[in-house]
């Protein structure tokens, strides 16, 4: 069989596995990992009206994995009646963050300006992280909708990181690291992450040192968080597809090695 044909068979096989995984409905028994449990417990322990910041540090490309994580954590925070400040350090994350926050807030009948605010996007994220440590209304004079931040009711009691209990960075890259390095190191801001599976190991040193409080990682993390929330949503729908894809990749490794050793034996 030629190389192109093999490649096509592998691609078609993976597509088939994923499509079938989304068609059939099997609820996998997902036990929350210690990190997801820690993240959930922390938000659960916060008293009503505590201010938390959600930062959408990602682009649209990672949305299938990032959206379930963001929605699970946002739903929890809004259900707990926490005050939420949203912002983005990527131009693309701005529209996503605003839509996710508005949709979730509407589910629970929350009001813009009183229960949540979306600040929007500013270029050069490191200067934004540092500037918010001095004054949020200076870093963001206007919110996403063009309102003056210092006139928004919820923001009157918020000056800088001293008034924010936790920053939750929803990221598909290393931006959570920069939150730790700048907002965490200089202003002692507590930071939590909602990150893609591929990035989990990058954060292990920060988790081990305690610089990063906790993370909810990948579709598995989202699924575990949903179970703790008591609502199986997009994370749990996607987990079967991810599991099947992992098994498929392992099968490809095994078959590839069998073929390799048979060919090597054939060559002598």
């Amino acid at each position: 069989m030629n190389r192109l044909k093999i490649r096509w068979i592998i691609f078609a096989g993976l597509a088939l596995v994923i499509i079938i995984s989304y068609i059939i409905r099997i609820d996998l028994d997902t036990k929350p990992s210690p990190l997801v449990q820690k993240s959930y417990d922390y938000i659960e322990s916060l008293p009503e009206s505590t201010v938390v910041m959600f930062c959408f540090d990602h682009e649209a490309s990672s949305l299938p994995e990032i959206k379930p994580i963001a929605l699970a954590m946002l739903r929890h925070a809004i259900r707990k009646n926490l005050k939420i400040i949203g912002l983005s350090t990527f131009a693309e994350g701005t529209a996503i963050g605003y839509m996710l926050m508005t949709k979730t807030a509407q589910e629970y009948g929350r009001e813009y300006g009183r229960d949540y605010v979306f600040l929007g996007f500013r270029p050069q994220h490191i200067s934004v992280f540092l500037a918010m440590g001095e004054s949020i209304s200076h870093a963001f004079p206007l919110d996403y909708l063009g309102n003056r931040v210092d006139t928004i009711p919820m923001m009157r009691a918020v000056d800088n990181y001293d008034d924010i209990d936790m920053v939750i960075s929803i990221a598909d890259g290393d931006r959570t690291t920069q939150w730790v390095e700048y907002a965490g190191a200089r202003y002692h801001q507590k930071i939590m992450g909602g990150i893609t599976s591929a990035m989990i190991t990058s954060y292990d040193p920060y988790l081990a040192s305690g610089q990063l409080y906790s993370v909810v990682g990948g579709l598995v993390g989202a699924a575990e968080y949903e179970i703790l929330l008591g609502t199986r949503a997009a994370g749990n729908r996607g987990i079967l597809a991810q599991t099947s894809a992992h098994i498929y990749v392992i099968a490809m490794i095994i078959i590839g090695n069998i073929v390799y050793f048979r060919m090597r034996k054939g060559r002598g």
Partner: protein, 205 residues
């Protein structure tokens, strides 16, 4: 003079940013805030340069009749989104957000998801146990792949534990070494730039 002024600006800025970290005097805070503002302003101009470069490259290709349909789609996208935002605003339910959610986001997610297909193909073609280190890497990859999904515990309770060990000991040791290396390298480079030893940013010399 052409190099002395930028070097002096770099030295003064570098020293100010270093010293202000340890100061809480209002003057130091004011200088620090102004520098942060300027940082954002300069970066905003780089965005303009990026957009201008994008338009220039695409127009050049169109005039040369190279990849014309793709270039036209790229340029129309660049024009369409700001026009939608200017006409209908960017509030919830606006045409801008509709286009973002139903056009841009699925397109980007589609391109990104192609990665899974290349991983599957590469795992068949390239992930072979050619030597003992390659075999160790392969076995570790398989264990972590299984350990990261819910079926791991169904197969064996040891899988998540082994995955945890791999992530928290050998993997983290390597990552810490890299991070410490990056940290030391960054410090050295910063010092070289501030002291004017490293001058490649001036003219590429």
């Amino acid at each position: 003079m052409k190099t002395k002024i930028p070097l002096a600006v770099c030295l003064i800025s570098g020293v100010i940013m270093f010293v202000q970290y340890f100061l809480s005097h209002p003057v130091a805070i004011s200088i620090y805030s102004s520098i942060l503002d300027w940082w954002q302003i300069i970066f905003a101009f780089t965005l303009f340069i990026g957009v201008a470069g994008f338009i220039k490259i695409n127009l050049q290709s169109i005039s040369r009749k190279k990849d014309r349909p793709y270039r036209l789609i790229a340029l129309s996208g660049l024009i369409l989104m700001p026009v939608l935002a200017l006409i209908g605003g960017t509030e919830f339910g606006s045409p801008f957000l509709w286009a973002f959610e139903n056009m841009l986001a699925p397109l980007q997610a589609t391109v990104f998801s192609l990665l899974a297909f290349f991983v599957a193909s590469a795992s068949y073609r390239g992930f072979h146990a050619r030597s003992i280190p390659a075999a160790i890497l392969l076995v570790t990859a398989v264990i972590v792949l299984i350990g990261r999904v819910p079926i791991a515990e169904m197969i064996s309770e040891s899988f998540p534990k082994i995955t945890f060990w791999v992530q928290n000991y050998p993997s983290m040791a390597a990552r810490r070494a890299i991070l410490i290396g990056i940290g030391l390298g960054s410090m050295t480079t910063a010092l070289r730039v501030i002291l004017g030893i490293e001058r490649t940013y001036l003219s590429g010399e």
